[in-house]
Symmetry: C2
Subunit: 478 residues, 2 copies
Amino acid sequence: MSDQKKMVEEITSMEVDFAKWYTDVVKKAELVDYASTRGCMIIRPYGYAIWENIQKDLDARFKALGHENVMMPMFIPENLLQKEKDHVEGFAPEVAWVTHGGSEKLQERLCVRPTSETLFCEHYANIIQSYRDLPKLYNQWCSVVRWEKTTRPFLRTTEFLWQEGHTMHETAEEALAETEQMLNVYADFCEEVLAIPVVKGRKTDKEKFAGAEATYTIEAMMHDGKALQSGTSHYFGDGFARAFDIQFMDRENKLQYPHQTSWGMSTRIIGGIIMTHGDDNGLVLPPKVAPTQLIVIPIAAHKPGVTEKAQELCEQLKSVCRVKIDDSKQSPGWKFAEYEMKGVPLRLEIGPRDLENNCCVVVRRDNREKIVVSLDELNTVIPELLQKVHDGLYEKALKRRESMTYDAHTMEEMIDIAENKPGLVRAMWCGDLACEEAIKEKAGLTSRCMPFEQEHLDDVCPCCGKPAKTMVYWGKQY
Amino acid sequence: MSDQKKMVEEITSMEVDFAKWYTDVVKKAELVDYASTRGCMIIRPYGYAIWENIQKDLDARFKALGHENVMMPMFIPENLLQKEKDHVEGFAPEVAWVTHGGSEKLQERLCVRPTSETLFCEHYANIIQSYRDLPKLYNQWCSVVRWEKTTRPFLRTTEFLWQEGHTMHETAEEALAETEQMLNVYADFCEEVLAIPVVKGRKTDKEKFAGAEATYTIEAMMHDGKALQSGTSHYFGDGFARAFDIQFMDRENKLQYPHQTSWGMSTRIIGGIIMTHGDDNGLVLPPKVAPTQLIVIPIAAHKPGVTEKAQELCEQLKSVCRVKIDDSKQSPGWKFAEYEMKGVPLRLEIGPRDLENNCCVVVRRDNREKIVVSLDELNTVIPELLQKVHDGLYEKALKRRESMTYDAHTMEEMIDIAENKPGLVRAMWCGDLACEEAIKEKAGLTSRCMPFEQEHLDDVCPCCGKPAKTMVYWGKQY
């Protein structure tokens, strides 16, 4: 890092401008750089290391449930994209088109995959003949492209990284169970690994995935009260199977269409981490995906034995956590600010007096608590503290969500909350598209999900007064 | 798998038609399926699992040397691609062009990356200011696109997966050392992990990478005597740095251009594995990347205790290797053929008589050797046998290469060998492009590399009779 950049720059306060705070953090914590390719981002080593940790954990969860990874082409011929009517209507307006290869004009345009249902279906038609071929539980890690008008790093970019699971099953029941199971995998992952509490629910027909019969979602609340759709799992029934003529011989020797799911989580979740846990000092990373979990900083490093001891502790702690040492010439104060900006969960300070006392000071990033730890106990205390940071982050985020979630019983209340209180609104709904659209128009709120955990708030829909069918989370979203 | 497919089909013999043998193997071992996207392949779970094992090993080697992973955009704006003259000349004829996003025509075409030097350089210009910012040791795992006229799975496809390392250094010496180091990483990986012996050397100017000052290569010999370029490492000098205006303040406070390298290995190497080790019974996988290293097959599975014991052994062996059991209803003979086709390195057979004798039979895929092993010793014997398979594969491939490599002292000899003996030809060369082209025209041989291990075969170039400068490996290539 050059001298110039060695000054830790101030970032905009969340209170002053949340959007500016966000872009300050992604830039100054060196998560991304902007590329000259419109709407695309460069994910820098520190950001990519977070994604690698996410991948490793999710991939192990998928494989433990029997899923296998594959690679599909990145291009979809136009006729293939068009095979399922709702799907193409949903995606065609936002795809990038390849029209030339080398110097020749292509006879048929290729779109750069915005999602790969059509490619998987074409392949499944080749390889599924019998019930013995089912289920097929495939996943791929790749990047996809959607031609977005306005973009923000991680949250909405023309190209993003994700995984997309695509499965085929003998029965509707089995496919529905898979859809739910994978939503639970995402929810557990968010809570257990990212310390992000989520609401699990189903999307309304208006908000569901193009071509799906049902879309399940997990929704997280960001610092500013807006919702982030953090992972989705779709049930397709046999719609795509019919469009792509995928049939199998069932146990009674009859031809049947299989039932399908797909599910995805993307680099967008890194935006979710930033906006859930971050603060005015920068990034705050959940320990389980932090590239560096503990930074060791020698204090008065020129004093005899200090740097050596710090290096020794760093080596020793490698067996229990991802640890680095900063024994550069920068001042301790500069280093504190730098690693706070980068969201490193724990900082270990060790100076001459600590050496005498056979101890060190460990500081938590999430609440700045300082803990004096005996050097003899470090190897057990550090993993415990990492877990405490995780738990602390989760609790804080959950409390924030609870304190920023409001029940509304009338349209007036909905509008009032939407205008004055950032957060989520819980209200009953009759199930009509007209009311959903009216709420969007009048209150500026969209339906985030119909949560699996329902409460009966009222008998009627606050919009039309007709009998209410379901409770909905409404909100503003990323 | 459906009943129909449960018959193990014959594959074409290598002797009869090597190209057909190859496509039979990739298809019937279920490594790939063809996609309707022209020239693109679907990598199926079994093939992708090999790639994941390759990735895991290579990635660890890169990281151990200080490299960090990043993600660059998949699109390159046309003006960016054009900044380095030699580079654009080399790649422009074979790129795919995106001309439309959604419904709008783009003001500037974007090419789908064929390689990412230009993107890395643009980013490096942003983040390199001082010698303290150097070296930058970046790598990315991604897919790239080259518009190939004729394609074959793994060997030459429009889209392929690879890793591309891109590094920047203070001095030419340091960059050259990196170029060599990474070639050695590839060579070690091929020999230690894939059991593929390689020749390390330098490409002639004619064969080097577009924009590079020097290209180093590892060349492997396939079963049919053709060479496969299996990994390359390029030294760029400061050519790209000048084109992209990347400068840093050096230790004497002077502005300097940094020196650059790039290096890559791709899914093509899976084609190399197939064509180095495979035989007329199908795939033969080197144990270190085989998704399944040992398949357990119960014999007379209906007899009391057999299946249970087989399952127990499978569980037990999970701690020492990647093991699976096939206790399906197919006959043992069918299973033998199936897992030979899939190249599983070891097969463990256990039947009623083995139970009585507390032993089992282990069969090596590479040479069909049958070994009776006491059940008490399995956990130590299996890893030893896996190593023996690895060593056996390597020895066999090395002997084949040696027996199919010929020295030529005259043009007549070169032509004679090229026409009558599949393999590599070693001959001296004066260094002139004219002779390189003449050898291509007259003998149909291209220069594979100028090996680091030189021998002085003759004083003169066999083509022109002028003083010879270097020994070259000539051959036909994939």
